[in-house]
Amino acid sequence: MGTQVKDVIIKPDAPNSLLLDKHADYIAAYGSKKDDYEYTLSEYLRMSGIYWGLTVMDLMDQLPRMNRQEIIDFIKSCQHECGGISASIGHDPHLLYTLSAVQILSLYDDVDAIDVDKVVEYVKGLQQEDGSFAGDKWGEIDTRFSFCAVATLALLGKMDAINVDKAVEFVLSCMNFDGGFGCRPGSESHAGQIYCCTGFLSLTGQLHQVNADLLGWWLCERQLPSGGLNGRPEKLPDVCYSWWVLASLKIIGRIHWIDKAKLRLFILACQDEETGGFADRPGDMVDPFHTLFGIAGLSLLGDETIKGVNPVLCMPEDVLQRVSLQPELLS
């Protein structure tokens, strides 16, 4: 077993300036050229895909280029009798896509396009006795779903519909010795889950329950010599994990603990100069998911050509101001 370092090397000719126009063109064209096979493969997460695309367009101030009416009609047709929203038409409702739909409608300032009361009932109905949330009626439990539940309700201004104390209790039971969080009690710390849990604690005003120094330490150790961040020890750096780690650090007030300039260079190197868009790592294929998290990451790092992004909900700050939502951040 050798000891090759698990990291990437950024080539000297890698892009090092932000290609905003290219990215907007890439996202605008993405929906239109849908190859049957690719489209089918990812339809199970279509609603989240739309949220990624629209949010990154809004952050680049290009939202009007997207087809608002078509998207709102699509969301309406994805709301089910139970109130939950599915990833696409004919798919089953799930908390993940319910949150994505509410996020999209918040961007468009049109949450009343769907039956909001039913959404609230749906979310409420998924809370379990121990405070946790199931992702859908089949009962899978995950701290991600706790985040989805409170984020959905926070955007709708209906946080009081659930038992917040119990929900907090469950999320805290997933905290580990390293200050991080996993998907369930006893599960390994994972940057994506940490993002969900710190975001959850922010929305519920419970960030004082986090050991910010200990967690900040773990999060900072995700930065690799290339500047990129990974999601767990000995994994490769990735633009999406860079966002989750960075946003978590921002939430717990420790963003200055990492080398921001180096991270910016890593994110910029993940752009595709020809097609536009960001990949997980330099040289890989781009996709809307990593494009959002690349742009959002640069925004958190202070890039002023992008709108300010909220670290908890990954949405433009101006949208949250409109709905008067100001999630707690530690300083």
Binding site: H91, D178, R184, E188, P233
Partner: protein, 469 residues
């Protein structure tokens, strides 16, 4: 190559049938895959069965997937009728190609609920999907649902058994047999599940979903069955030694350690009922000894508790000692692995907390009498835990009989002495030992990664462990 819609229709229906038939022909298929093959070969099915491997030629996937996908969605929207058999076949094909299609798994959940499918069949389908997509979150989620269904069924059967117990002997006899069968079945399912997890862990490094599923399985199917935990712990020893970068595998080991230590501590009287706890603690306190001896002899029960207590505690020390040795060995043999250093932190932290909890507990409940003093009487190798971190020294000095002061110094003695000591008995980690381990690495190793991790560990010891009250 098929072009028109009808041609695609015919082609795809044939392929779905071929897949179904392959499973009928060989019920032992254990792996699926796509065979790179850009064009159709005339008059030959794109479904290839070689020994126990089922392959689909790549050219047909792009017809096959959209077709079965759309068919299922039309059914879901009640625009197209499919009978149960067709649903079973279509979801099978669909999930082998795209196992994160949540709704297809949900269709199968409904088929399971109405008895068209049986749970074992779905666990099998998931297992196959995982051979090609070892991370697939939805496949793992579906497995947990199926396992819960199996668990519910067997606990319902358990209840029926109890209700019937008032009836005649013969029925009871039959029931005993049945419940034995049930628990055998659960044991087999558990075992199988562990194998599915191992297999997926081998196919994708640091497979979060596979390892967190494995934890879930133990939490739901093996709680209280300490033998399973012990077996897992010992079989994981070899696995982690061969996968020194696999943080998730190490996390699983940490989970096992924690559970086993909790169980051992329980048997040594620290997590049982409050009454039980205080009685065992009292029986192990020297004050209490003199007290009982003044009044007569130790009761039989007290003596038995005593022995159990000793065994539990020395087993805990043994475990910590062995784990730190394993960790030292791996760090030295495979320099520069963050996972190994992270494991060291975790084990040390576990130890640190276990010790504090126990010491604190004993101090409180026995008014200054300490379990460590008692241990000193019986096993010279076991006195170290009370003699480490400075915050404990005061307590220790108060309790330790004179003449044992040299034990304090031994903690900071050079290695040769330490290893001699180790041979005499299980010696748990101490802060000074950890610091000398770090120094040794820094003195001898020039691998920059290894040095970086060693320095970070030192800093962690100083700040996270050192600054705790």
């Amino acid at each position: 190559m098929a072009e028109s819609e009808e041609e695609v229709d015919v082609l795809v229906q044939r392929v779905v049938k071929d897949i179904t038939n392959a499973f009928k022909r060989n019920p032992n298929i254990d792996e699926i895959g796509v065979i790179p093959c850009p064009e159709a070969r005339y008059n030959r099915s794109p479904i290839v069965l070689v020994e126990n491997k089922l392959g689909v030629e790549s050219w047909c996937v792009k017809f096959l997937l959209p077709y079965v996908h759309n068919k299922l969605l039309l059914y879901r929207q009640r625009k197209h009728w499919l009978d149960r058999e067709a649903l079973v076949d279509i979801t099978c094909t669909l999930l082998l190609l795209n196992p994160d299609f949540t709704t297809a798994w949900n269709v199968r959940k409904e088929l399971l609920q109405c008895g068209v499918l049986n749970p074992e069949k779905d666990l099998y389908l998931g297992k196959l999907a995982l051979t090609k997509f070892p991370k697939s979150p939805e496949t793992w989620i579906h497995r947990r649902w199926v396992l819960q269904k199996i668990l519910r069924q067997s606990s319902a059967a358990g209840c029926r058994k109890q209700q019937q117990q008032q009836q005649q002997d013969e029925a009871e006899q039959a029931d005993v047999g049945r419940s034995q069968q049930l628990s055998d079945h659960l044991a087999r399912t558990l075992h199988q599940e562990m194998r599915v997890c191992s297999d997926a862990a081998g196919r994708y490094p640091s497979n979060y979903n596979a390892w967190s599923h494995r934890i879930w399985v133990l939490q739901h199917m093996a709680m209280g069955n300490i033998k399973v935990f012990h077996d897992e712990l010992s079989s994981m020893r070899l696995w982690v030694s061969m996968h020194v970068s696999d943080h998730s595998g190490f996390h699983y080991r940490q989970f096992l350690l924690k559970e086993v230590i909790t169980e051992l501590s329980h048997s040594s009287g620290n997590s049982g009922s409050p009454e039980h706890r205080s009685s065992t603690v009292l029986s192990s306190s020297p004050n209490h000894h003199s007290h009982s001896q003044a009044n007569g002899e130790l009761s039989g029960a007290e003596a038995a508790d005593e022995v159990e207590n000793q065994l539990g505690l020395s087993a805990v020390f043994q475990l910590f000692h062995q784990e730190m040795e394993l960790c030292t060995d791996l760090i030295q043999s495979f320099p520069g692995h963050e996972t190994l250093w992270s494991h060291r932190r975790h084990v040390f932290y576990l130890w640190h907390h276990w010790r504090r909890k126990h010491q604190h507990h004993h101090c409180n409940s026995t008014n200054g009498g300490s379990n460590s003093v008692h241990l000193n009487d019986s096993e010279p190798g076991l006195q170290k835990p009370a003699v480490q971190g400075s915050e404990d020294e005061e307590v220790v000095n108060r309790q330790r009989p004179a003449g044992e002061d040299m034990e304090v110094d031994r903690a900071s003695l050079p290695d040769s002495r330490d290893s001699k000591r180790l041979k005499r008995g299980a010696c748990p980690p101490t802060l000074p030992l950890e610091h000398s381990f770090v120094s040794r690495i820094l003195d001898s190793c020039c691998n920059p990664e290894q040095r970086r991790f060693a320095l970070a560990y030192r800093k962690w010891l100083d700040t996270v462990i050192g600054q705790q009250p």
